[in-house]
Subunit: 275 residues, 4 copies
């Protein structure tokens, strides 16, 4: 189909939204009074409600929160963060610098989770054709190696040999019994990668993009909802870096990503009452 033409301007078609109803003294988010949600339902759960139409079960709510926390920040080196910092140093507003950062969630940054989801969908289609999940993983890895598509999206990391976020997210999913086909295939792919003779010398463990892809798949979230969750989850990180830039640095500085160090608190434990 050709790209659609804009309809003529003599009058615009009526349209509807199913998200939020605004009437005098009443705001309904997906049918729930917002003042009923406030104080009872967490921010992560309300995000899930807005994006999917339903409140999550407490288990799923906890998993979604864990996912949002896992991606909230990754230091000052992601290019989206550097775009936000370079915008902030010009004296731009917080919103302008955050918007510049959001624009950096491109094909390659954050996009790995979406690419991994496509890979998992491909593997599950093979499996639905009659193969076991393990066999589908072996087939897929052979194909990836032949196409030189190594590391595949969702596996390996430039900094981490074991991505602590992926390990933890999959553990939580397991504890909450929300790990199904997607997670099984993800695990099977990790094993098939480590078993493949051409990849003997490489360590390609599941990374956070892979874990998010599998968890969203098992939750039945469409790819674009996963995409939205990633953007939402990183906005606080972008905002925090922009606030820090405003407080600590002089305007118009040259931001060299290779010369920064961490000077925050050393490792500390979460107070017991929270566990």
């Amino acid at each position: 189909m050709a790209p659609p033409k804009r309809t003529t301007g003599s009058g615009a078609a009526p349209w509807t939204t199913g998200l939020t109803s605004i009437s005098p003294n009443q705001i309904l988010v997906r049918g729930y009074r917002i003042d009923d949600l406030m104080g009872r339902v967490g921010f992560g759960e309300t995000i899930y409600l807005l994006l999917t139409g339903e409140l999550p079960s407490p288990s799923i709510g906890r998993l979604v929160d864990a996912m949002l926390v896992s991606f909230i920040d990754h230091g000052a080196t992601p290019p989206s963060t550097l775009a936000a910092l370079n915008t902030s140093t010009t004296g731009a507003s917080i919103r302008g610098a955050v918007a510049a950062g959001v624009l950096g969630f491109g094909r390659y940054h954050g996009g790995d989770a979406l690419a991994c989801r496509a890979l998992l969908d491909e593997g599950l289609a093979i499996s639905r054709g009659g193969s076991s999940i393990a066999a589908a993983a072996t087939t897929l890895v052979a194909k990836l190696v032949e196409a030189n598509d190594i590391p595949p999206p969702g596996f390996g990391h430039r900094f981490h040999t074991i991505d602590p976020r992926a390990t933890r997210l999959l553990q939580i999913a397991h504890e909450l019994e929300t790990d199904h086909n997607y997670t099984q295939l993800l695990r099977a792919l990790e094993q098939a990668l480590s078993a493949h003779e051409a990849l003997k010398d490489r360590s390609l463990p599941v990374n956070i993009d892979g874990a998010i892809a599998a968890v969203c798949g098992d939750l039945g979230l469409p790819t674009e909802v996963a995409d939205a969750l990633l953007i939402i989850s990183r906005v606080p990180g972008l905002a925090a870096h922009v606030l820090e830039e405003q407080r600590r640095q002089t305007p118009m500085r040259v931001i060299d990503p290779t010369t920064h160090t961490y000077d925050g608190p050393p490792e500390r434990r979460i107070p017991e009452r929270r566990k």
Copy 2:
């Protein structure tokens, strides 16, 4: 001071960040292992941690969550949402449309909370000079009326005669005993406005911007942290509208904000187990 000049390019100064430490297989957010935060600390609480440097107490965490939920969406008519929808209809990516929406958090949209904070700071300065909070409120209202600064930021609403979000947020703050000077002054201003003879015919109850301003003030959050919280809280709403636009509408449609209706679920109750 003149706007600073960019330092010369022959080498950039080393710099530091106190937010997130990235080392092989370990990510510390403000000193806490991210895999420790995941599953134990909610998204709203982790946002607070990132922005302020410390985990909130459970009470404050609940209040921050309520504040984030209160501002998560306000239907399809805010101009920031319309900017996101108009961007989305051109076929832009989710991130592009969300970024366009974020840019709409200007002086007048979301900015009322910041303007109200300035008003409250002014009133508390008067009070620190020896007046009671009530007397400071009366002084301030007289000044606002004389300057024709009515409605003042944080009071009155075009749709709502009572803003249900403000009522609820202040109620939660009261229950959690986090309401102090700022909230007292906000209340006092509401009373002084309704008592002022020139405003007899106007209803100017506290709105959500006012409630957020007071709550952030009582929590000791600087204005720019409140600003960041507002941007963060609305991103899920923007993303949800963009996803809905992609699913329901044809590209390049004429978006007339006056012709839309809500077709989501009718009012429903939060399941009991959650309360």
Copy 3:
């Protein structure tokens, strides 16, 4: 190939740019001193220089200027302009509102020129296989009708039965003798569309997107350069709408695209000395 991983942070690779050399008291744009370009070479020609690496001949320079002018504004109804206006009404800065507008150059808005270029490339590939341009056009139109891809990108317009910009741009290209294969195929497609029996009742003349696609093709400009030219050309229009919004309107207004009218000067002639 898998999405590339970011290289490690221990040091960044040296890199080069061929655009602009900055040394003390000397700025070279593509090798020309910027103070030599100023006053001698027009803004449109310098844009061409920056994007392609070479100064255009005077003929091509005139054509590029005509192309940039043709797309400079299309009133207040394009969704990119509405995104800019909705952002401006929140009190955002000029740059914030312009950026929101730029984000609206999506697949469907401005993208028609790129889609038409792909169509023309497809037709020229058919023609290189031995068909005449006319025969290639007939083949292509049959294919488009079968795929229900009508109107094809570059043809037809919701407002205009004859797009005055397209007519003029192709006339200038003809006068300057820069119309080659792409333009010939565009013309042949227009004829084949009007000759096709299934499209008898439809008027599908070349529109400005089609004319720009053909002109850029004949100039040998890659698709992404054409994309950049379209974005560049509309920024002044976006900025002018934002300035008008700031001057004429009150903040936070409801912007209904169906209720605006033009109140600028009536049609007037360009002073003779300019012709």
Copy 4:
């Protein structure tokens, strides 16, 4: 006055635009048929028409073109350009990366021209009070030194001891006899700065921001039009850097602004026929 409230949604007020009239088969930009402008009026002149409402005289048109060219690019180190490059390396679209760059025209970047304009307006107000321009400049410089506002906006440069763009722009303005009060004051300030005993060891010649501020002032352009011209003028530079990033570099690279070099053509002359 309090921030205005958004009008109610039951119907939006009719509104007008004086920029561009769209009717079937006719597009008028500020009253001129766009197809009449195309090929006759340059891009820079049409930008001036759109922003100010009138076509420039040929002299002013040439000056505006020179101003737009002067600011078209400043290499890869301005933070706005780095924001665009960091966005591009994530795989973002050209428009997304350009928008991120536009957001970097903050208070400190590009804003110097606006700050210098304010300084010149202050000086001209002093002069209207009865002082000569030279005396007003001396008064202003004394004030700037006392406030430690050195370098003042519009004077001095981190790379250039003489900014070749400023020299050339002021020379063109002089040749075209468009240099009036603002330019005279700019020159007088430059002299007063070099004559001030506390600044003996500093070289603070007029820079491009100062020259643009004076030229726009003498043309009677409001500050916000000057702001818009700066944004418009740099968009081609941003787009060119993004295209170069896409062509030359691998995605997700670490962009260190201190390690790049210029590898474009060496200095060359503009062909004679153009002069």
